[in-house]
């Protein structure tokens, strides 16, 4: 696997990711007041070259626990989630690298300041939710696409508008990085939303119900039927469970959307957040 998967995904979007990384929205939504000034100061340091150098250092020092792509492994958590990586200042992230995290397996790393700066830049690029970035593109055209010919709202909902079949996207910009949103659109099988698989069950009474899966374990199953009703079953109430192999999200948006349309859609989705 390419250890720089996340970055190459970004690169596919031309120069916009560089712009995005450099231009943070300073009235950062949902970030505590005392952190906002630090974030403003910190945001000026993310030189794309530093991000790239940081990615190499990351493979050297961090990947064994946090995974080559920073999304975690059996040994350590994902760096795309968590309070400090998401809400902390650059100095706080650097402090964890320098001193280690108390009560965890994260050890201190004796690296020089310039190396730590590069690592911070790379970690930021992994996890910065899209809503914290200015995404190049026309949001209003993206909105038209979402609710119009893109047919996104046939399955997805934003703030009560749209449909129930797929994941709600009201906070997609607050939850996901630009790279993750882009991947969800272009390669839905690889995205975290892939758990929204199609499912058809047959009850012991013979009723056949199709819909999308919400959760499942050895003893129960939770789904939404095609009419948008939540349906819960114990395994004993079901005669058959046929699970789709993939997410129900169409896989051909890469062909259907022009580069400009994709940018507009990303600009619109990236700005969606439920934070005040």
């Amino acid at each position: 696997m390419n250890p720089f998967r996340t970055l190459t995904t970004f690169s596919g979007n031309g120069n916009s990711w560089r712009v995005a990384l450099l231009l943070f929205i300073f009235c950062v939504l949902a970030v505590p007041h005392h952190l906002r000034a630090q974030r403003r100061q910190a945001s000026q340091s993310y030189d794309p070259k530093e991000v790239e150098a940081g990615s190499r250092r990351f493979v050297e020092h961090c990947a064994v626990c946090h995974g080559i792509d920073g999304r975690g492994s059996a040994r350590g958590p994902s760096l795309t989630r968590g309070l400090i990586v998401n809400r902390g200042s650059d100095e706080e992230v650097a402090g964890v690298i320098r001193l280690g995290a108390p009560n965890s397996a994260m050890p201190p790393f004796a690296l020089v300041d310039s190396e730590i700066k590069q690592l911070v830049a790379f970690i930021r690029s992994l996890r910065t939710p899209a809503a914290y970035l200015v995404v190049a593109g026309d949001r209003s055209l993206g909105k038209e696409l979402f609710f119009g010919k893109g047919r996104c709202s046939n399955c997805h909902m934003i703030r009560g508008q749209g449909a129930l079949l797929g994941p709600d996207l009201s906070n997609v910009g607050g939850d996901r990085t630009l790279a993750e949103i882009r991947q969800s659109i272009l390669s839905p099988a690889l995205s975290e939303g892939a758990k929204y698989k199609g499912v058809t069950v047959v009850t012991v009474q013979g009723e056949k119900i199709a819909g999308t899966l919400r959760n499942r374990d050895n003893f129960s199953l939770q789904m939404m039927d095609a009419q948008g009703n939540l349906r819960f079953f114990s395994s004993a109430e079901l005669r058959e469970v046929a699970l789709g192999a993939k997410s129900v999200m169409p896989e051909d948006y890469g062909k259907l959307l022009s580069e400009a349309e994709l940018r507009n859609l990303l600009a619109f989705l990236g700005s969606q957040t439920v934070a005040e």
Partner: protein, 540 residues
């Protein structure tokens, strides 16, 4: 209850005179005989007995009444973040461990009677840094416990008072303590963690009374010693081969069987060409002297972090027409092995997972026939099983009545990435790592494997994301208990694999193996679930 009257304190003797002779004190002593022939009311060692079968003779809970099993008590372990240990029960007193802490509980109610706790140190590294701890050992009136900085402590069984302390290894050199010690012939056998941190692996024996070290076996030879010829390059001085999982013991053969961990750096083999003895091996040791009788290496020159730290299960059975003393292990590398434990000779090796791409088979010479192009590369190389392995340290079990070996198996692959890395004190020594294969989810299964053929008898698929680390327990009641992939404690029929009972513990990720015991004539089943100790018993 067998016991030596001379061992009793005066108070106990006086009390016995006053009370009925049938009264067993919760802090009564544990004798060598108790360990050799467990009555199964207690659960005295990590695996329940010396054989590592994790099979209890208790049979009150059976397929016919398991539907009446219900939670009896829950003990939320103070300060815990993820419990991995097996509780020890001695005469109704339960010991559970967490981050540098031991808690003694009334095993019938879960009420705490004492606790021992020591602050965590900031400069411990690796798994021990988290306070991962698999439990205590008990003997006489003492409880033995490893702190996260690789010290062995003896505590008084009645109140947790510190009796003696020994340093196994210097935590500043990467040594850590995570394992449950094992008592063998008046000795505490204690291993270490640090197997991704560049330690030189070791296994120690200490006098139970004084804490004096009686012997040490280095799992990595010093340069120039026999075995050092299997290390070409500089890695030998920080070669790992950690000993962080409790081994097993055959009193008849007077042999200790101990599994060892991966070589370091884990994923880069260029600076340690050769087999890298005695990593990823079973060591057969004389418990009196620590001398090596034989060894068997499962994964020579491992570059995938496939520690052999899975339980070596000892079984006496007729094998291919001949009565034999066997050692069975489902190894992280994906093969199920049966060895003759007298000689160390390989008798059988069969894959117990389907996603296995690194070797075609284990040859008649006992060595894997490694397939080309499976080593980690700087760009990343997909290989199977995953870095977590076909299974891992969580316990399998073996039932003598079914002849089946029960193991939680995982079907998953990883992308393995290597890079040249030199050792640096106080740091991980991995030579990079592994990550998930995008779009490929792993899946766990409870698999019942025939001891004599290595073939699958049945399997019980665990629906979920394969993030759990829970093991199994077998009982003479004909049940296999396990932790599933969604926080459920589950009982399945040992013969058929049919699920008969389940309880949602609420733990996001189970990471321990169940155990069972009996107090006041009632059988209980306990599982460390997330941050709680959860105990089940039949409804009256």
């Amino acid at each position: 209850m067998k016991r030596n009257a001379q061992d009793f304190r005066l108070m106990t003797v006086l009390s016995l005179l006053v009370l009925s002779a049938a009264v067993v004190f919760a802090d009564g002593p544990i004798s060598e005989q108790d360990l050799l022939e467990p009555d199964w009311k207690s659960w005295l060692t990590y695996s329940g007995d010396y054989s590592g079968r994790r099979h209890s003779a208790l049979n009150q809970i059976q397929p016919g009444n398991v539907h009446k099993l219900a939670a009896r008590w829950i003990f939320p372990v103070p300060g815990a973040n993820r419990l991995v240990g097996t509780p020890i029960v001695a005469h109704g007193l339960m010991y559970v461990t967490s981050r540098n802490s031991v808690f003694a509980l009334d095993a019938r109610t879960g009420r705490e009677v004492w606790r021992f706790s020591r602050p965590m140190l900031p400069d411990v590294i690796g798994d021990a840094r988290n306070g991962i701890n698999r439990g205590v050992a008990v003997f006489g009136h003492k409880v033995f416990f490893e702190t996260h900085d690789a010290h062995l402590l003896a505590l008084h069984a009645s109140n947790g008072s510190l009796l003696w302390e020994a340093e196994i290894g210097d935590h500043r050199e990467g040594y850590g303590g995570t394992m449950a010690p094992l008592i063998v012939k008046n000795k505490v056998i204690a291993g270490i963690s640090g197997g991704d941190e560049g330690v030189r692996g070791l296994l120690d024996a200490y006098d139970v009374d004084t804490g004096k070290r009686l012997w040490r076996f280095w799992t990595i030879p010093a340069p120039g010693e026999p075995g050092s010829e299997t290390w070409k390059g500089n890695a030998i001085t920080h070669g790992c081969g950690a000993t962080w999982l409790t081994g097993t013991f055959d009193p008849g053969l007077n042999t200790l069987y101990w599994p060892t961990g991966n070589p370091c750096p884990d994923f880069y083999g260029g600076d340690r060409l050769g087999d890298n003895l005695y990593t990823d091996s079973i060591l057969a040791l004389d418990p009196d002297t620590g001398k090596l009788k034989w060894h068997y290496q499962f994964t020579p020159h491992d570059t995938h972090d496939w520690d052999a730290t899975e339980i070596p299960v000892l079984v006496d059975a007729t094998f291919h027409g001949q009565p034999r003393k066997l050692l069975a292990q489902a190894n992280r590398n994906g093969f199920f092995y049966v060895l003759d434990r007298v000689t160390g000779k390989l008798l059988l090796a069969e894959p117990f997972i389907k996603k296995l791409t690194w070797a075609s088979r284990i040859g008649p010479d006992g060595r894997p026939q490694v397939l080309p192009d499976t080593d980690p590369t700087p760009e990343g190389k997909k290989s199977c099983p995953s870095v977590v392995g076909g299974t891992n340290w969580f316990s399998p079990s073996y039932s003598p009545s079914t002849g089946l070996f029960y193991v939680i198996a995982m079907e998953e692959c990883s992308n393995y990435v290597s890079s040249v890395q030199g050792y640096q004190k106080g740091r991980g020594f991995e030579g990079t790592g592994a990550s998930d294969v995008p779009g490929e989810a792993g899946q766990k299964f409870l698999r019942a494997i025939e001891l004599h053929t290595g073939k699958l008898r049945w399997e019980y698929p665990l629906i979920g994301t394969a993030q759990s680390w829970a093991g199994t327990l077998s009982t003479a009641g004909g049940l296999i208990f396990l932790g599933d992939d969604n926080g459920y404690c589950v009982a399945v029929d040992a013969k058929s694999g049919k699920a008969l009972w389940h309880f949602n513990t609420g733990a996001a990720r189970l990471s321990a193996s169940p155990m069972t015991y009996s107090v006041g004539g009632r059988q209980f089943v306990t599982l460390a679930a997330g941050t709680n100790i959860v105990t089940f018993g039949l409804m009256e």
